[in-house]
Amino acid sequence: MGLVESGKIPKPLTKLLNMSRRYSMWVYQWGLACCAIEMGAAFASPRYDVMRLGVIPLPASPRQADFLVVSGTVTDKMAPAVRRLWEQMPDPKYVISMGSCANCGGPYWDSYSVTKGVDQVIPVDVYVPGCPPRPEALLEGIVLLQERIMNEDMAERWKGDPIVVE
């Protein structure tokens, strides 16, 4: 939209757009380890029901996704794939890092094959602590992300350089 790129959006319009973005998010689940099951419980189980937050799980591809949940241990062998998948997502994109392993390496802090935190590979918006975090904790993280989106200045966000895959 030309209005957004011009950098001048009236406040009420920003609010309207942000609200509509906030409650229509596709989440791409990058289930890696134990946390993937808790994420599955949050996304696929009727008990936690993530859709009431306006979040739609299980898109067909990262191309459709608005935010990514990295849940579980990222290893050095996996890190390039995480990066590539993140690059495939369209802007604006957000990342939730779920669980101690994705946050900082967790119990594998001294392992020879584990990346000590997914934020070494991709930028992270919300960290959800826990080993693994309960599904409720992930929902809390999603709510925090939604608040962040709500307060975002879209024009500011769009000013960034385009993401180019080499």
Binding site: E5, L32, C34, I37, S45, T75, P90, D91, S111
Partner: protein, 390 residues
């Protein structure tokens, strides 16, 4: 809607990247199809590279290591009580079952034995982990052959079991509850009755799964006669657990080589199936879940009273020696080979995980099947990536 240059560039680059990921090489022998490392049909991050001739798989090879976390090295720099925290996370669907063989191996070396009450509660939690683990398989297997509903039921009913585990141990997933010489705590008040009610629900869940999935024509067409493993091949690849029993071998560590758990006290049955195909693996697991409920119902009625902790020193030094203890985990035989040299940390721990051996048969098994069968065969072998890669 106007498209900016950056959008276009990003789109083109993304298309190129996608092409690289999906179809890597085309050779004279046929097409190479790459599944994974992130693929919705794998339990975690497994990658399968398959060479195809049309729909037929000429050769398929799993590529692992995307989840390799170096457990065996890390155990050498952790004290014995700290190791259970790590090994919890190997098979993350039935965590408590991972702790037990390690603790039993350490107990063997220290020559201590847990009091009877601790052994019973261990067995109870062990079987609860089995239900928590296999119930998800039952739902997931159906997803892999195209039915989405069962997995929602599985997630729904699994919560009841997880809640019971949480009430005892404080953790839904990784209890870290087992100690050398006993358990951390006793059962909370009223737990036994509540668990009895949960078992009733899980029995209904098994019936529901059977009704939904087992008799389904599509399910049968996708699994009957697919991925047949003959018994001698299964043995030489070291398959264990339900995969071995589905090939007609009547072998269960709980009955035949039981160490430290109280399966001798209850009346139960080992289920086998002669076919060795994907269907029989599903069937055996379904029956095993029922049998686990059966075992639990008997165990809950007879937990002896007494202490839950034997006398062990506060700082645990394990005498020198070697011990190998294996238990019948939800995924198959899980064993710990612990070498101690009298230190606070183990000298070497070899983890024999079930899925690693179960998966090592896939290059043999996937040869000559059709592409859609890759998914159903892998699903029926039932692996967990943490258990393969460790």
């Amino acid at each position: 809607m106007a498209t900016t240059e950056s959008d276009q560039m990003a789109y083109i680059a993304a298309q190129a990247a996608d092409a690289r990921v999906n179809v890597e090489v085309e050779t004279d022998e046929g097409m190479t199809l790459n599944l994974g490392p992130q693929h919705p049909a794998t339990h975690g991050t497994l990658r399968i590279v398959a060479k195809l001739d049309g729909e037929k798989v000429l050769a398929a090879e799993p590529i692992m290591g995307y989840m390799h976390r170096g457990y065996e090295k890390l155990t050498e720099v952790r004290t014995y009580p700290q190791v259970t925290t790590l090994v919890n996370r190997i098979d993350w669907l039935g965590s408590f079952a991972n702790e037990v063989p390690f603790i039993l191996a350490a107990e063997q070396l220290m020559e201590v034995e847990a009091p009877p009450r601790a052994q019973w509660i261990r067995t109870v939690l062990f079987e609860l982990s089995r239900i928590a683990n296999i119930s998800l398989f039952l739902g997931d297997m159906a997803v892999q052959v195209g039915a989405t509903t069962p997995v929602f039921y599985a997630f729904r009913d699994r919560e009841f079991v997880l809640n019971q585990i949480e009430r005892v141990t404080g953790g839904r997933f990784h209890p870290n509850f087992d100690r050398i010489g006993g358990l951390k705590d006793d059962l909370p008040k009223g737990w036994i009755e509540e668990t009895g009610a949960v078992l009733g629900k899980m029995r209904d869940f098994c019936d529901e799964m059977e009704e939904l999935v087992l008799g389904n024509e599509i399910f049968q067409a996708r699994t009957r006669g697919i991925g047949v493993i003959p018994p001698d091949v299964a043995l030489s690849y070291g398959l264990s657990g339900a995969n071995l029993r589905a090939s007609g071998i009547d072998w269960d560590i709980r009955r035949d080589a039981n160490v430290g758990l109280v399966y001798d006290e209850v009346d139960w049955k080992v289920w086998t199936h002669p076919d060795g195909d994907s269907f029989s693996r599903f069937w055996v697991r379904l029956q095993e879940t029922r049998e686990a409920i059966n075992i639990l119902e008997q165990l809950l009625g007879g937990i002896p009273s007494g202490p839950i902790m034997a006398k062990v020193p506060r700082i645990i030094k394990v005498p020198a020696g070697e011990a190998y203890v294996a238990t019948e985990n939800p995924l198959g035989e899980m064993g710990f080979y612990v070498v101690s040299q009298g230190d606070l940390t183990p000298f070497r721990v070899k983890i024999r995980s079930a899925s690693f051996s179960n998966m090592s048969i896939t290059p043999w098994l996937l040869k000559g099947v059709f592409v859609p069968d890759i998914i159903s065969i892998l699903a029926s072998l039932y692996f967990i990536l943490g258990d393969i890669d460790r």
